[in-house]
């Protein structure tokens, strides 16, 4: 414990040495730049949606907005494609967050019961699916066989049970004191009651983590639309945005519907760039809104994930 003594003797306030000063200057500068690189693209996008559209098209808006207006945000919701995709995205996110949560938790809970017949086999049967996949095309053929192509439920059903989350829930419930459930059992509560009244409420930290990740995953999901959906009425915002970014023709067609609106003013006249930028911003907004909550839980998520299942 000599170490301790030595540390205690050391004067509390120490003047920064020259080396320290250099180090901190470099360190802060590097992290400031990293932060700037991460945040500037978002800022740049936002100032471009609220600036004069004719200036934006010339690439004049770089550091600060010019001629602030919010017409783009009013115009974007006049595009019927956009409204429809907002509806689909919200619906799939809400359903895709809560329905899988229920299924995942129940299965995770069942797997904590050690006297379940065939538990070892069933658990292995489930876990092993994390390490192999039949591949994109066989999965596609399977989805087609199940009649889920061009079907809204293709957004929900294939993600009902995420095995990784089952492991998280199981590990978490196993860490709860067993006495709580046992006392309820002695009082005659069946599995359903014990699950609803004891296990579920106690598991909120892990459930909140999983719900947030489900929500972000569902909102950001793009490949399932690309693979399984051709009907434009089922496009999500992510996919609609992709179409706008890539298919100039599709965008121009959408904009034609807007010609009846009086938009002769060059500053607010709807343009393809404005629609693309604005659509991107409204697709990011929900993520930014839940981000503070995510932050509270993600460290937990990462750390639990590191625990062996």
């Amino acid at each position: 414990m000599e170490v301790n003594k030595a540390a205690n003797i050391r004067p509390h306030k120490k003047r920064m040495s020259r080396e320290d000063k250099i180090f901190h200057t470099i360190n802060y500068t590097v992290f400031f730049l990293l932060g700037l690189i991460c945040i500037y693209p978002f800022y740049y996008l936002v100032i471009n949606t609220i600036s004069r559209n004719d200036y934006v098209d010339l690439g004049l808006v770089m550091y600060a907005p010019i001629g602030v207006h919010f017409q783009n945000y009013i115009n974007i919701f006049k595009l019927s494609n956009v409204m429809n995709s907002v509806f689909i995205s919200v619906l799939r996110t809400v359903l895709g967050t809560f329905i899988p949560l229920v299924f995942t938790t129940i299965l995770g809970y069942l797997f904590t019961k050690e006297h379940m017949k065939g538990r070892k086999f069933l658990y292995r049967f489930t876990i092993i699916t994390m390490y192999f996949s039949a591949g994109m095309i066989p999965v596609y053929m399977n989805i087609r066989m199940l009649g889920l192509l061009n079907n809204f439920w293709v957004y929900i059903i294939p993600g009902l049970i995420k095995v990784y989350n089952v492991v998280l829930v199981k590990t978490f419930i196993e860490s709860l004191p067993a006495a709580l459930e046992e006392s309820a059992q002695i009082d005659g509560a069946n599995y359903f009651h014990r699950f609803v009244h004891i296990v579920f409420p106690l598991s909120t930290p892990i459930l909140a983590t999983i719900a947030l990740f489900n929500a972000v995953g569902a909102w950001n999901s793009y490949l399932d639309t690309l693979l399984y959906i051709t009907d434009s009425r089922l496009y999500t915002m992510q996919f609609q945005l992709y179409e706008y970014l890539n298919q100039a023709a599709a965008l121009a067609k959408s904009l034609n519907n807007l010609t009846d609106l009086s938009m002769l003013d060059a500053a607010t006249k709807v343009s393809t760039t404005a629609v693309r930028n604005t659509m991107t911003v409204i697709t990011i907004v929900p993520i930014i809104c839940v981000y503070p909550f995510i932050q509270r839980y993600y460290v937990q998520g990462v750390m639990i994930g590191a625990v062996k299942g």
Binding site: N4, H24, P41, M62, K117, M136, I284
Partner: protein, 315 residues
């Protein structure tokens, strides 16, 4: 359940047996679901052994044995494309591996910061991109890097460094590096979290003792902090081996264009382009099947390596 007398043990056993079966039947619907969505697709592997045409049924397609596989390697056009795809997959993954120590250093140096506030803000800002989809990143990248109106090009022009815009996204130069940098931008802050937790767990007394003994900052980082993070680094590295061929296709599909295509098409994107794009179901299934088999082998090897390194298996 612990203190059961000899008399009642038999009765308890049967009760528990009955309860065990009840739980079994409760789990069966879930297991059935797992079967339908994870095991049932395996029947699709049979497409690799027939000559399938869209519109025809599997049973009506002529059986061709391993012909689809051999064609992929023998037929010159097919072989060249497969080799190109494999080269891209390996190239991108290797550049990705070069970047894997960066989150560790990010965590170490972030931890050296004195201002808690600045540290928190930095972490918040750098983790955000992880939660943004690739479509949006594509849109952001377009805004920043476009040839005519992109921010970077405009800035460089204003500074007089360039005359004409540089085409960052529509050129075949350094595609792998650009993709790796975009991935890094998305994931750096997020991947650092696990190291930040590890850094926070380091015993302060050891660090202070070293300081008293005259070890400078770099010496402490090099001799005390980093050695404590290296095991985490290797565990993550080993766990990632099984995904070596799984580059995913989202990023590649989005940034793919006429110029970048020869360098951006990785195995996953190749399977998509060939199977869904061109309708060559049999060939793309064959490619996917080989990929799945290799992935299982890699996972098994990683598990073996993990046993050697950590003394425990991962799975």
């Amino acid at each position: 359940m612990t203190a059961v007398t000899k008399k009642s043990r038999g009765r308890t056993r049967t009760l528990q047996d009955k309860d065990g079966w009840k739980l079994f039947w409760m789990a069966i619907p879930f297991i059935l679901y797992i079967f339908i969505f994870h095991y049932l697709p395996l029947w699709g592997w049979s497409f690799a052994f027939v000559s399938y045409r869209p519109g025809r049924s599997l049973t009506n397609s002529p059986f061709v044995g391993w012909e689809n596989f051999t064609t992929l390697f023998v037929q010159p056009v097919m072989r060249n494309r497969l080799m190109e795809v494999l080269r891209n997959t390996l190239g991108m993954q290797l550049i990705g591996y070069l970047f894997t120590p960066l989150p560790m250093f990010f965590a170490v140096f972030l931890n050296e910061m004195k201002s808690t506030r600045f540290r928190k803000i930095t972490q918040t800002v750098t983790t955000l991109p992880n939660f943004i989809s690739w479509v949006i990143i594509y849109a952001l990248a377009y805004g920043m890097l476009a040839v005519d109106t992109g921010f970077i090009n405009n800035m460089l022009k204003d500074m007089g460094l360039i005359e004409n815009g540089i085409s960052f996204l529509t050129s075949s130069d350094h595609v792998w590096l650009k993709m790796a940098l975009l991935s890094l931008w998305k994931s750096l802050g997020w991947n650092a979290i696990v190291y930040l937790a590890a850094v926070a767990g380091i015993d302060h007394e050891v660090l202070e003792a070293a300081e008293v003994d005259g070890a400078g900052r770099m010496r402490r980082i090099w001799n005390i902090v980093l050695p404590q993070l290296i095991p985490t680094y290797f565990v993550l590295l080993v766990m990632g081996i099984g995904n070596f061929l799984n580059t995913g296709m989202e990023q590649q599909q989005l940034f793919s264009n006429a110029m970048t295509k020869p360098f951006i098409e990785t195995l996953d994107l190749y399977v998509y382009n060939m199977g869904i794009g061109s309708g060559l179901i049999s060939y793309s299934t064959a490619v996917g099947m080989m990929k799945s088999v290799i992935a299982v082998i890699l996972f098994a090897s990683a598990n073996w390596a993990s046993k050697k390194v950590r003394g425990t298996s991962m799975f």
